[in-house]
C-alpha cells in the first residue's frame, strides 16, 4: 500500500488527495524531525508489539542519559516488508528489530548497514548467535535472543526422554493403545507442510538444505533438496507418516499442535520456547529434551533462529543508531528486559547466566539447540519454505518420496537466481 501511495505522490503527485495522503504517512514525521534535529537528535526504532513494550523504558533511559529523543514505534504487521518499503522512500526508522533470516533480503535491498563490534564485545555473545548475524563475512546485526525447537514431553504420560524417534513412536503407540493419548506425536505439518518443524528429522535422516562454502557461509548453488541424501531422509520420514506409523499427520497444524499437547491428547510436542507459556497455563508437568533422531541415523539438528537489532542504511541518524546498537544493546540489562517480555534464551552469555537460575527451561532449550544449525539467511532460503513444506506434506500423506522430493528440488533450483 505504501508503494501505491508513493506512486500516487511520485508518479503524478496528483490532486490534493494524493499529496495529503503521502505526507500523512511518511513525510510529516520527517518535517518534525528536522526541526528537532537542530537541538538534540532523534532515534527511531521499529519493533513488533511485544518488544516495543519491553524496549520503551530502556530507550527512554538511553535518551535521557544522552540528551537525545528516542522513539520506539510498534509495527505489528509485516515489519520486514514495511521496513524495506519505508527505507526506500526515506521514511524508515534508524534501528529495526527482527529475525536474523531477514538479513539476506535486507542486504540485497541495501536496507541495513554492517555493525562493527569490538572483539571483546563479540566474545560476550553465544557463538552461534554471532554466526547467525554474520552475512558475507560482515556482522549485520546485534543478536539479543535465540530460539530453537526441542522435544517437550508430558512427564505424567512419558516419564523418560526418548533416545531415538523409534523409542518415541513405541512409547506413543503404547499410550495410544492404553487410550491415555490420541496422538503419538504433536509435530505440526498441516496440509502444506512445515519445513521448520520437520527439519530436525530431515537432518537426522541425512538430508541438508544448502552446502557451506569455503568461508562457512551457506552456498545457494549447492542445493541439498532433491539429492539422494534428501530422498533417503524422506523415506525414513514417510515411515512415520500416515501410511506408516501415523506419528506424523497432516491434520496436526500450527493451530492445534500446542493445544493438543496441553489438552493431554499427545505426550510429545516438538516446539519452541513460545509453547512453554501455554504448557504452564495448562499446568502440565513437562520436561524439555533435544529432538531425538532416527536410530542409527545422524544427529537431529533443529534450526537456530536469532532475534537481532539492525542499523538502517537509510536512517537519518546513523551515527546514533550505530552507537545504540553497538554499545547499548550489548549490555545485559536490555537483554534481561527483553527476556522478561518474552522468555527466549538471551544471546548474551552474561544475560543468560543471570536468568538461568530462575528459569531452568532456558538451559534445556539451549542444550537442545547446541547442535543446531543456523537458519540460513541467504535470500535463496525464501525459495525453500513453500516447495519443501509441500513435499513434506505430500510424503506424510503417502506420496512417493523420490518423485516428490526430486520435483521439489527442481522447483527450488528453478527459483534461485
Amino acid at each position: 500500500m505504501r508503494i501505491r501511495t508513493a506512486g500516487v505522490v511520485a508518479v503524478l503527485g496528483l490532486a490534493l488527495a494524493a499529496s495529503g495522503c503521502g505526507s500523512d504517512s511518511s513525510d510529516e514525521p520527517a518535517a518534525k524531525e528536522s526541526t528537532k534535529a537542530a537541538t538534540g537528535g532523534k532515534l527511531v526504532i521499529w519493533a513488533d508489539d511485544k518488544r516495543t513494550a519491553a524496549l520503551k523504558p530502556f530507550a527512554e533511559k538511553f535518551g535521557q542519559e544522552n540528551g537525545v529523543t528516542v522513539e520506539v514505534q510498534a509495527v505489528s504487521k509485516d515489519l520486514q516488508t514495511n521496513f524495506v518499503t519505508a527505507s526506500q522512500q526515506g521514511s524508515g526508522p534508524d534501528v529495526v528489530v527482527g529475525a536474523h533470516d531477514w538479513i539476506g533480503n535486507l542486504v540485497q535491498n541495501g536496507a541495513i548497514d554492517p555493525v562493527q563490534l569490538a572483539a571483546e564485545q563479540k566474545s560476550g555473545f553465544n557463538e552461534t548467535a554471532v554466526k547467525a548475524v554474520t552475512f558475507n563475512g560482515q556482522l549485520y546485526g546485534v543478536p539479543y535472543a535465540m530460539e530453537n525447537l526441542a522435544l517437550i514431553r508430558n512427564t505424567e504420560l512419558a516419564p523418560e526422554a526418548p533416545k531415538t524417534i523409534e523409542d518415541l513412536v513405541a512409547a506413543g503407540k503404547k499410550l495410544k493403545a492404553e487410550k491415555k493419548a490420541s496422538e503419538i506425536l504433536c509435530l505440526q505439518s498441516g496440509q502444506n507442510g512445515d519445513a521448520y518443524h520437520i527439519y530436525p528429522l530431515y537432518t537426522s535422516g541425512g538430508g541438508y538444505l544448502f552446502g557451506t562454502g569455503a568461508n562457512g557461509d551457506y552456498d545457494p548453488k549447492d542445493l541439498g533438496v532433491g539429492k539422494p541424501e534428501s530422498i533417503e531422509a524422506f523415506k525414513k520420514i514417510a515411515k512415520l507418516g500416515e501410511k506408516g506409523d501415523g506419528a506424523l499427520k497432516r491434520s496436526i497444524t500450527g493451530e492445534n499442535s500446542i493445544a493438543t499437547f496441553t489438552g493431554k491428547k499427545c505426550a510429545f510436542l516438538v516446539s519452541g520456547p513460545w509453547a512453554i507459556a501455554d504448557a504452564k497455563k495448562a499446568s502440565i508437568s513437562y520436561d524439555i529434551s533435544p529432538v531425538p533422531g532416527f536410530a542409527g541415523g545422524k544427529e537431529a539438528q533443529p534450526f537456530v533462529g536469532v532475534q537481532a537489532f539492525y542499523v538502517a542504511a537509510k536512517g537519518k541518524n546513523k551515527a546514533l543508531a550505530q552507537e545504540f546498537v553497538a554499545n547499548h544493546v550489548t549490555t545485559p540489562e536490555l537483554a534481561v528486559a527483553l527476556y522478561t517480555a518474552e522468555p527466549r534464551p538471551p544471546a548474551l552469555t552474561a544475560a543468560l547466566d543471570q536468568v538461568k537460575g530462575t528459569d531452568p527451561d532456558l538451559a534445556k532449550f539451549q542444550e537442545a539447540g547446541k547442535n543446531g544449525q543456523v537458519l540460513p539467511a541467504i535470500p535463496a532460503m525464501a525459495t525453500i519454505w513453500d516447495p519443501f513444506g509441500k513435499a513434506e506434506a505430500a510424503i506424510i500423506g503417502g506420496a512417493d518420496p523420490a518423485k516428490t522430493i526430486t520435483a521439489a528440488g527442481k522447483t527450488i533450483s528453478g527459483q534461485i537466481k
Binding site: I3, R4, T5, G7, V8, V11, L12, G13, L14, A15, L16, A17, A18, S19, G20, C21, S23, D24, S25, D27, A31, S34, A38, T39, G40, G41, L43, G67, T81, Q88, V107, Q108, N109, G110, P114, V115, A119, Q191, N192, S251, E255, N256, K316, N317, K318, A319, L320, Q322, E323, V325, P379, A380, T383, D386, K390, A393, A394, G397, K403, A407
Partner: protein, 546 residues
C-alpha cells in the same frame, strides 16, 4: 491507505452548494446567473474552499521539503482550478463533475497506470532503488576492519561552534594510550598534556577542541558517518559515537569500466543495464541491484515460461468453475430461501431473516479460518459430527467441494437479501394472472418471477462473479491452493489465478512486483472481457422484458 486518504478535503467539495436553487432546466442562462445568493450557501462555500486551501498548504510543505516540484505544480494547479471553478458562476456542469473526476483519477486511474507501468520494470526485492543506491550499498557493505588493527575510543569534537564547526575525531588507542585528532586531512598526534582521558580511554577534554556530547553529536549524524580519516592501512571510521575502527572498503565502483572491483580478489562485476545488476564474467551477480525498464519481458515470461504457462489453463478452468460455482450456488440457495420466506403462508419470517443474515454479519476473514479448522481430518467439526474420515483438503475434489461449500455459507445471505428486495418489487398481479391462466407454481416461477428477478439481479451477479474470480482470501485462508500434486508444488488443485500468481511473484526469492503487475494485467483483461460480454447480454435481456 484508506484512513490516510480520508482527508483530501479539496476533492470532497460538494458541488451542490452553489446557489442554483431556482435554476430549472428551462430557465435562460441569464436567469440562472441572477440566482439569489443565500447566506448558508455562501458560508458553506467559504468553509469548504478555506478547507481546500488549508489542506493544500498542509500538503505543500512535505512536497517542498522532498523537492517534488512536479507534484507541487500539480497541487498548485489543482487548487487554483478548484478555486476558479467554485468562485465563478459559470461552468455549472463542471461543478458537479470535477470532485468525482478528481477522486476517479486519484484512486482509480493513477493506481491502474502505476500498476501498468510497474509491469514493464523489474521492480522487486533486490531491484528497488536506483543504480546509485546500489553502488552505495555495495561499497558500504564491503567496509571491513583492517585485520589486526586497533580499536579506538572515540570522541567527536570541533574547533568551532558545536552546531556548525568542522568535525574532528579525537581517538585514543587503548593499547598505547596515545591520543590523536583526525579529520579528512589525516591523523595528528596530540600532546598528552593537553588532553584529559577518562578511564575507559575516551577523551573528555582537549586543548583547543570542544568535545560534543551525544545530543550535539547526533544532531550532526550524517557528517559523522561521512567523515573518513585516511590512515596508512585504510581509514578511520566511526562505529557509533564512542568507538572508531580502522576500516577499508574492499569493493569500489569504477565509473571508467562501469564495474565494481574487489581489491582483495581482483574480481570485477560489470553493470548489466538489461537486468539491473552487476554481473561477473562467471555469471555471479551482486545481490544489490537496481530498477530498470525491461520492456515486455514480464509479459513474455508469463506466456513462455513453462513453469508459469503450463498450469495456466488448468488453473483458469478451475478459476471459472469456482467463480461460477460460488456465484451460482449462493444465488440459487439465496433465491430459494427468499422465495420461501416471501410466501404469505410463512410464519416467523423476521426470526428466520435474522438467523439467515448472521453469516453475512460475521467477518469473513475469521470465518474462513474457522472453516479451515472445521475441515481438519482428525480434529475438525465436519468429520467429527458426521463420523467421517474424509481427508477434505488432502484430495483434489473434496478440497474443491469444501471451498465451494464455504463460499456458499459465506455468500448466500447476501443473495438472499438482494433477492428478497427484488421479489418485493415484482407486482403480485403478474403471478396471480399466471395462476388464473392455470399455470403451475413452477411454470409461473420459470416464466415470470425468475426472468424478472434476473433483470434486476444480473448486474449484481456479474459483480459477484468478478469478485469471486479474484477471491484471494477464500482460497488462501483455507486450502492455500492445495492439495498439490506430489510432482508439482507450484500449482494446486484449488489455486485461483490470483493465489497462483501470488505464490509465483512473492513466494520465490523475494517479491517480484514487476511480474505480479504483468500477471494482474492478464487477469484484469480476462475479468473485463467476461464482464463486458455479460453486460451486453444483460442489456439484451432487459430489452426483452421491459
Amino acid at each position: 491507505m484508506t484512513t490516510s486518504l480520508s482527508g483530501p478535503g479539496a476533492a470532497t467539495q460538494p458541488p451542490g452548494r452553489e446557489p442554483v436553487g431556482p435554476g430549472l432546466p428551462g430557465k435562460s442562462r441569464t436567469a440562472r446567473h441572477h440566482a439569489p445568493i443565500t447566506a448558508t450557501g455562501l458560508l458553506v462555500k467559504v468553509i469548504l474552499l478555506g478547507l481546500t486551501a488549508g489542506i493544500a498548504i498542509w500538503a505543500a510543505f512535505p512536497l517542498v521539503e522532498a523537492e517534488k516540484w512536479v507534484g507541487l505544480a500539480l497541487l498548485a494547479a489543482t487548487t487554483a482550478g478548484l478555486f476558479y471553478l467554485y468562485l465563478t458562476r459559470r461552468h455549472i456542469p463542471a461543478k458537479y463533475l470535477v470532485p468525482g473526476t478528481l477522486f476517479l483519477i486519484a484512486f482509480q486511474v493513477v493506481p491502474v497506470l502505476y500498476t501498468a507501468s510497474t509491469a514493464f520494470t523489474n521492480f522487486g526485492d533486490g531491484h528497488r532503488g536506483t543504480k546509485e543506491d546500489a553502488i552505495v550499498a555495495i561499497q558500504t557493505a564491503s567496509v571491513k576492519q583492517v585485520p589486526g588493527s586497533a580499536e579506538y575510543a572515540l570522541s567527536v569534537a570541533t574547533q568551532g561552534d558545536p552546531a556548525t564547526g568542522p568535525l574532528v575525531f579525537l581517538v585514543s588507542d587503548p593499547g598505547t594510550g596515545t591520543v590523536s585528532a583526525g579529520d579528512a586531512g589525516g591523523l595528528r598526534r596530540l600532546d598528552p598534556a593537553d588532553v584529559t582521558v577518562a578511564p575507559g580511554g575516551k577523551v573528555t577534554a582537549a586543548e583547543g577542541y570542544t568535545v560534543l556530547n551525544f545530543g550535539q553529536a547526533s544532531a550532526r549524524s550524517q557528517e559523522i558517518t561521512d567523515l573518513v580519516v585516511p590512515t596508512s592501512g585504510g581509514a578511520l571510521r566511526s562505529a557509533g559515537l564512542s568507538r572508531a575502527y580502522e576500516g577499508k572498503a574492499i569493493r569500489a565502483y569504477d565509473a571508467g569500466c562501469d564495474c565494481v572491483k574487489d581489491n582483495e580478489t581482483g574480481k570485477t562485476w560489470t553493470a548489466d543495464e538489461d537486468t539491473g545488476a552487476f554481473v561477473a564474467a562467471d555469471g555471479e551477480r551482486l545481490a544489490q541491484g537496481w530498477k530498470v525498464t525491461v520492456g515486455l519481458k514480464n509479459f513474455s515470461r508469463v506466456l513462455t515460461d513453462p513453469a508459469i504457462s503450463g498450469p495456466f489453463f488448468g488453473t483458469l478452468l478451475w478459476n471459472f468453475a469456482f467463480a461460477i460455482g460460488s456465484t451460482g450456488g449462493t444465488f440459487i440457495l439465496g433465491m430459494f430461501i427468499a422465495l420461501a420466506l416471501h410466501s404469505p403462508r410463512m410464519r416467523g419470517t423476521n426470526f428466520y431473516r435474522i438467523l439467515l443474515i448472521l453469516p453475512y454479519a460475521m467477518p469473513s476473514f475469521a470465518m474462513l479460518l474457522v472453516w479451515r479448522d472445521m475441515f481438519n481430518t482428525d480434529f475438525g467439526l465436519v468429520n467429527n459430527l458426521f463420523g467421517l474420515g474424509v481427508d477434505w483438503f488432502g484430495q483434489e475434489w473434496s478440497a474443491r467441494i469444501a471451498v465451494i461449500l464455504v463460499q456458499l455459507w459465506l455468500g448466500y445471505p447476501y443473495m438472499f437479501l438482494v433477492a428478497t428486495g427484488a421479489l418485493q418489487a415484482i407486482p403480485k398481479e403478474l403471478t396471480e394472472a399466471t395462476s388464473v391462466d392455470g399455470a403451475s407454481p413452477w411454470q409461473s416461477f420459470r416464466a415470470v418471477t425468475l426472468p424478472l428477478l434476473l433483470v434486476a439481479l444480473s448486474p449484481l451477479l456479474i459483480a459477484s462473479f468478478a469478485y469471486n474470480f479474484n477471491n484471494f482470501n477464500a482460497i488462501y485462508l483455507t486450502t492455500e491452493g492445495g492439495p498439490f500434486p506430489a510432482d508439482n508444488p507450484t500449482a494446486g488443485a484449488t489455486d485461483l489465478l490470483i493465489t497462483y500468481t501470488y505464490r509465483l511473484a512473492f513466494g520465490a526469492q523475494g517479491a517480484q512486483f514487476g511480474l505480479a503487475a504483468a500477471v494482474s494485467i492478464f487477469i484484469f483483461t480476462i475479468v473485463a472481457v467476461v464482464s463486458a460480454v455479460s453486460f451486453r447480454r444483460t442489456r439484451k435481456q432487459e430489452e426483452v422484458y421491459s
